[in-house]
């Protein structure tokens, strides 16, 4: 394939990238290397591995051949130079920020993000001295106004959960470039099948693999993808990458590893020291899931659009927030960034308010009532009575989790069965 000099298509990469037959056994499926450690060939080989002078495996906290298949696969699908698999999407964000920021530094983040990210940035990250400055994706100028000499990164989501907020990635990338800092894009909801943020100027892509990439609701995981686009040495702002590392006998990671040095820094400094490694078994399940990503994402998106259209005409529904609908606020951006479809997730406002939301989640028989998205199965949650129950009504509304709001993650079942289930629930 390599010698044919063809550029493989997305479907081919989803099945093959990273997964050649096992060199020792010939196993065609990716083996699960369920081992903590790897024997060295000899003392000199061990020294070369520890000194980063040779490619190879040492210890599963730093790297594992099953996890490596997943890393290369996601890197290939995103069009990046390298990937690093970690224990969760939150772990991916932790390692990215720890590699970029020192205590007292700032990063700019869209204020319309997955709620878990908002919590992580407002609480844990602030306790480390990494200070988030919020900007509004509906007012791109707010990103530019938030730039200060302490800014080290900009963070957005391609499609933000749950409201289907689509951010103008290219416009934010221009601001990040001007500020001399990398743009990080969380591409969890879109996946590279619907949107490739690197094509629009992202320097780093992060994922919760737990959602659509794994796709089957069976494994928690996270991924960091290095686009290979950022010059870490230019302004000497990123000491982890541009200064000699004493623990690796003084090597400079950017000088030594070039356009995949960010992924290497996240692995040999961040993952090594912080420790949230992915289990090889989870990596196997997620990598297997990705083989069908293009098929699943198209079905998720097609089903979701059909459901959104049906709901938007239902007499008990006040509104539907889904960027695939022509009247939606983000419809124009959706046509640019996610032309194949807008993914599975939408929010719905019920005319009957809180009680109608409780009734809907109680009455459905196909939808599962749980706090996740991105399963093959259709999922539903009523935030006001679950995840956001402790908030006041005003706080709930501000968080996009008002008493009338129900979030749906549309699965890949038959769309008529999904609609019939919602019809039953809304009766």
């Amino acid at each position: 394939m390599a010698d044919a000099e063809r550029t493989p298509g997305f479907n081919t990469l989803a099945v093959h990238a990273g997964a050649k037959p096992d060199p020792t056994t010939g196993a065609r499926a990716t083996p699960i290397y369920q081992t903590t450690s790897f024997v060295f060939d000899d003392v000199e080989h061990a020294a070369s591995l520890f000194g980063l002078q040779a490619f190879g495996n040492i210890y599963t906290r730093i790297g594992n051949p099953t996890c490596a298949v997943l890393e290369e696969r996601v890197a290939a699908l995103e069009g990046g130079t390298a990937g690093l698999a970690v224990a969760s999407g939150h772990a991916a964000q932790l390692i990215v920020m720890q590699t970029l920021l020192m205590p007292g530094d700032e990063f700019i983040a869209s204020k319309k993000l997955y709620g878990g990210s908002i919590n992580q940035f407002n609480n844990a990250f602030k306790s480390f001295g990494w200070n988030v400055v919020w900007a509004d994706p509906d007012d791109i100028g707010s990103f530019e106004r938030a730039v200060s000499p302490k800014t080290k990164a900009v963070f957005i989501e391609s499609i933000a959960n749950p409201g289907g907020v689509i951010t103008d990635i290219e416009a934010v990338a221009t601001i990040a470039r001007k500020a001399g800092v990398p743009l990080i894009v969380d591409n969890t909801l879109a996946t590279p099948y619907l949107c490739k943020p690197i094509d629009f100027g992202a320097d780093i892509v992060v994922h919760s693999l737990t959602k659509f990439l794994g796709g089957h609701g069976n494994s928690i995981g996270g991924m960091i993808v290095d686009a290979g686009t950022f010059n870490w040495s230019r302004d000497k702002k990123y000491p982890m990458l541009c200064e000699p590392r004493a623990e690796y006998s003084g090597i400079v990671l950017h000088e030594t590893f070039g356009n995949f040095s960010f992924a290497i820094a996240c692995r040999v400094l961040g993952l090594r020291d912080l420790g949230p490694a992915l289990s090889p078994f989870n990596a196997f399940l997620i990598a297997t899931g990705i083989e069908t990503l293009p098929l699943r994402m198209q079905r998720h998106s097609d089903n979701a659009l059909a459901v959104a259209q049906w709901l938007s005409t239902h007499p008990r529904v006040a509104w539907v927030s889904y960027p695939g609908l022509p009247g939606d606020k983000y419809h124009a951006l959706a046509q640019k960034y996610v032309p194949k479809g807008c993914g599975a997730v939408m929010t719905v406002g019920l005319k009957g308010g809180y009680d109608a939301g409780v009734k809907l989640v109680s009455n459905v028989k196909l939808f599962s009532h749980l706090a996740n998205i991105g399963d093959t199965k259709s999922l539903i949650i009523h935030p006001a009575s679950t995840t956001h129950k402790q908030l006041t009504d005003a706080q709930k509304t501000q968080a996009g989790a008002g008493p009338d709001v129900v979030r749906l993650s549309i699965g890949i079942e038959d769309k008529d069965d999904i609609i019939a289930d919602l019809e039953l629930g809304l009766k």
């Binding site: 190879g56 290369e72 390298a82 090597i251 992924a263």
Partner: protein
Amino acid sequence: MNHDAYPDSYIRGILNTVKTIAMVGFSPNTSRPSYFVFKYFLERGTRVIPVNPGHAGKEILGERIYGKLADIPEPVDMVDIFRASEFVPGVVQEALALKPLPQVIWMQLEIRNDAAAAMAEAAGIKVVMNRCPKIEYGRLSSEISWMGINSRTLSSKRGQILPGGVQRMGLGNAGDKKND
């Protein structure tokens, strides 16, 4: 040759045939990239001859360091350049004076000089610029995939494990006739 995008077959062909590399601008500092590349190819059984006038006559990992290309008393297949782009024409001129001529002139990451490349190509020498042979070897052997790097290669064939350990891969497939 399009120096913006080399076909994998071009790079693979070079790395498969080169047996002796002269490394110009070699640093004996073990934290520098040239030392990494030097050690990596030595471990693969490639003959690597370091060149640096500041360290001429010294030995490193059993290999003698020479002051300039002309001092090397044996033919070299490839000249690997670890000098800034503006110094490349001088190195290429020295390489063109070697008898026999080297088959390949390779410039490391961030090093590119199109005029010097054209001069070498006019003499029938293959040129690679702005690449690292260690990274390319790791990429095409799939060793680099262990680090989560996108090798940009797909294959349904089993890779080749080199003698001397399980964590060293070759450029061919299992079952290929071994290179002599």
